[in-house]
C-alpha cells in the first residue's frame, strides 16, 4: 500500500504517451483544458469527445483504470449537474414545472438538460485527459523536473523555481518514510492502550495528538540530518546545478504539440462556423 504512494498513480507502461516529453504533456494538458472550456458548438464537443476516446485507446491504459479515475468526481458531477439543470431558464415552455411551497419554481427546460449533460461531459473529459497525460504516464519526479523546466523563465523574476522543485522532490521522497513511521507510532501507542477507533469524532481527533507530536518531532530531526547530508554533498541551492536527465524535444514531441494547437484552433473555428442553437 505504501509503495503505491511513492509513485503516485503512475502506471508503468510503454506507449507513445510514455515517450512524450513531460513538458509537452504539461502543454497538452493546458491546451486541452482550454479546448474543453471554450467549446460552444455541439460539433466541437463531438470532435473533442472523439479525440479523447482515441487518446484513451492509444494510451494502452485499460478502460477499467479510466473508470476508476472518474469515480471520485461522480458525486460532484451529480450535484452540479442537478443545480445546472434547475437553474437554467429557457426561452420556450418548460418540460417540467413544480412549485415548491409557492416559494420558488422547479422548472426543467430543454436548454437545462443540454447544459447539464455538456457540463458533466466537460468535467469527465478534463479528468480523463489530465490523468492520461500527467498522472498515469508520467512519474512524479519527471513531472517535478518538467514543471521546474517550464517555469524556469521565472528565475529572472527571482522566483526560486529550482528550490521549489527540490522541495517537491524531497516531499515525494519522504511520503513513504513518514507513512511507515506513522504506522510504527500508531502501533506503539496502541500497545500503550491508545484507542483510535471508538468514541465521538472529537474524541477520535484528540486520540491523534499522541501520534502527531512524535511524528512532528521526528520529522524535524530527519530534516536536520537531511540538511547536513545535503550540505556534505555540496548542495548550495538551485543555482549552478545541472541535471542527470536533460529533456530534449524531438520531432514527434513538437508534432504532438502542434496537433494539440490545431485541435484547439478547430474548436474555435467550429464555434464560429457551425454554431448550434443552444446557448452554453
Amino acid at each position: 500500500m505504501l509503495k503505491d504512494i511513492t509513485l503516485g498513480q503512475y502506471l508503468p507502461g510503454d506507449s507513445f504517451l510514455y515517450r512524450l516529453d513531460p513538458r509537452v504533456k504539461i502543454g497538452a494538458t493546458i491546451l486541452s483544458l482550454v479546448a474543453y472550456f471554450s467549446a460552444r458548438s455541439l460539433y466541437a464537443f463531438g470532435l473533442l469527445t472523439l479525440l479523447t476516446a482515441l487518446l484513451v485507446f492509444l494510451s494502452g491504459i485499460s478502460f477499467r483504470v479510466i473508470l476508476r479515475a472518474i469515480r471520485p468526481v461522480v458525486a460532484v458531477l451529480l450535484i452540479m449537474g442537478i443545480l445546472v439543470l434547475f437553474t437554467t431558464k429557457g426561452a420556450g415552455e418548460p418540460y417540467f414545472s413544480l412549485s415548491v411551497f409557492s416559494l420558488f419554481d422547479l422548472e426543467i427546460y430543454p436548454e437545462g438538460i443540454a447544459r447539464a449533460v455538456l457540463f458533466s461531459l466537460r468535467i469527465v473529459l478534463l479528468v480523463v485527459s489530465t490523468c492520461l497525460f500527467l498522472t498515469y504516464t508520467t512519474t512524479p519526479t519527471s513531472l517535478t523536473d518538467a514543471l521546474a523546466s517550464v517555469l524556469s523563465p521565472l528565475t529572472i523574476l527571482r522566483v526560486p523555481v529550482y528550490d521549489f522543485a527540490m522541495m517537491m522532490t524531497i516531499a515525494l521522497r519522504f511520503i513513504p518514510t513518514l507513512a511507515e513511521e506513522t504506522d510504527k507510532i500508531m502501533s506503539a501507542q496502541k500497545a500503550r492502550g491508545a484507542d483510535f477507533s471508538s468514541g465521538s469524532l472529537i474524541r477520535r481527533a484528540r486520540a491523534l495528538i499522541p501520534i502527531l507530536i512524535p511524528l512532528f518531532a521526528s520529522s524535524f530531526r530527519r530534516a536536520g540530518e537531511l540538511a547536513t547530508a545535503m550540505e556534505c554533498r555540496c548542495y548550495r541551492g538551485g543555482a549552478g546545478r545541472t541535471k542527470l536527465r536533460v529533456f530534449r524535444l524531438r520531432v514527434w514531441d513538437l508534432l504532438f504539440l502542434f496537433l494539440c494547437g490545431a485541435i484547439l484552433a478547430s474548436v474555435f473555428l467550429l464555434n464560429t462556423w457551425l454554431p448550434t442553437g443552444i446557448s452554453l
Binding site: 511513492t6 519526479t141 521522497r173 547530508a229 554533498r233 555540496c234 548550495r236 542527470l244
Partner: protein
C-alpha cells in the same frame, strides 16, 4: 604516502551549549592518503564533532585544519566568497556517510539520488551519467538504478548512500556510525564496500562504537571528553585495556579473553583482536602447560 589531513590545536565549542565546554579541544593529528582509520569513543566524546570538522560542516572555533593543502583557521582574513569556495572544495574532497540511510537519500529513485552530488557540482549531464554508473558499480548496486530506495534493505540503502558520496569522487570518506542501524548482514555489506574502497586508495575514516569493526582498521584514534586519548595501530591501542575500560569502552571479545587469562597469571600477549589468532595462542599455551 603523502599527508592528506592535518589538525593543529583543533578546537570546537558549540555556541550556547555545554556552558562553553569545548566538544573538541586541542586535537593534533595527521592522516596520510589512503589510510584506514577508526575513531572510537563513547557518546559525547566528540568523535562525531571531530568528523564534522574534517569536512567543514562545522567550522573550527580554534586551531586549524588542513585538507589536501587547503588550510582553514578561525582568524582567516579571506573574504566570504573565498571562504565559501574553500569550504566547498574541502567538502568535495571529504565525503560523509551517516547513520540513518533514510535521512540522507534525497530522491525517490536510486540513480537520481546518486546523481545529486555531481548535479551540485554543475557537471554536464553525460559526465553525471558516467559517474552515477561508475559509483553504482563500485557498490554493486547497478541493477537497482531505477528502483525506489524505499523498496531496498537497510544495507542496500546505505550502499546507495555511499554511491551518492562516491559520485563526487572524494579522496576521503568519513563513515559516521554508518553501520549502527543495520542488521548483521547489512553491516557486513557496508564494511566490505568500505574496505574495497580503501584498497582502491580512498582514505577511510570510520567512526564506530563496535570494537570488532574498529579492529579492522590500520589505525585507531580514541577520543574522550573532546580530547584525543590514544592514537596507534589496533594492537597497541587494544593492549591498553585498563585505559580503555576507564573511559567506559569495551575491547574486542578476543582481547578481553586474553586480558582476563593474563590477569589470572597466564603468559599471553595483549592487544590481539583476531579470534583465530587468540585461539592459536591459547592452544599453544595449553600444549606447553600439558608438556610440563
Amino acid at each position: 604516502m603523502s599527508e592528506f589531513l592535518r589538525a593543529e590545536h583543533l578546537t570546537f565549542v558549540y555556541p550556547d551549549e555545554n556552558n562553553g565546554i569545548p566538544a573538541v579541544s586541542d586535537v593534533n593529528l595527521t592522516i596520510q592518503k589512503g589510510e584506514y582509520v577508526a575513531i572510537l569513543g563513547h557518546n559525547g566524546s566528540g568523535k562525531s564533532t571531530l568528523a564534522k570538522l574534517f569536512n567543514l560542516i562545522l567550522l573550527p572555533t580554534g586551531g586549524s585544519i588542513t585538507v589536501d593543502g587547503i588550510r582553514f583557521f578561525q582568524e582567516d582574513d579571506a573574504d566570504d566568497a573565498e571562504l565559501e569556495e574553500k569550504v566547498y572544495s574541502v567538502r568535495r574532497r571529504v565525503g560523509m556517510v551517516f547513520q540513518n540511510p533514510d535521512n540522507q537519500l534525497v530522491a525517490s529513485i536510486v540513480e537520481e539520488d546518486v546523481a545529486f552530488g555531481p548535479e551540485n557540482l554543475g557537471l554536464p549531464s553525460n559526465a553525471i551519467r558516467e559517474r552515477v554508473d561508475w559509483a553504482l558499480d563500485a557498490v554493486d548496486m547497478r541493477g537497482y538504478a531505477r528502483r525506489t530506495p524505499y523498496s531496498l534493505s537497510g544495507g542496500q540503502k546505505q550502499r546507495v548512500a555511499i554511491a551518492g558520496v562516491l559520485a563526487m569522487k572524494p579522496a576521503c570518506i568519513i563513515f559516521d556510525e554508518s553501520t549502527a542501524m543495520l542488521d548483521p548482514r547489512g553491516r557486513r555489506e557496508v564494511l566490505s564496500v568500505m574496505e574495497s574502497l580503501n584498497r582502491e586508495g580512498i582514505t577511510v575514516l570510520h567512526i564506530t562504537h563496535y570494537m570488532e569493526e574498529a579492529a579492522r582498521a590500520n589505525r585507531i584514534i580514541v577520543m574522550n571528553d573532546g580530547r584525543m586519548l590514544i592514537d596507534g595501530p589496533p594492537r597497541e591501542v587494544f593492549a591498553r585495556v585498563d585505559e580503555l575500560k576507564e573511559i567506559g569502552l569495551e575491547v574486542p571479545q578476543a582481547t578481553e579473553l586474553l586480558f582476563r587469562l593474563r590477569a589470572a597469571g597466564f603468559d599471553l600477549p595483549l592487544g590481539v583482536t583476531d579470534p583465530h589468532e587468540a585461539a592459536e595462542l591459547i592452544a599453544a599455551l595449553y600444549r606447553e602447560v600439558c608438556h610440563e
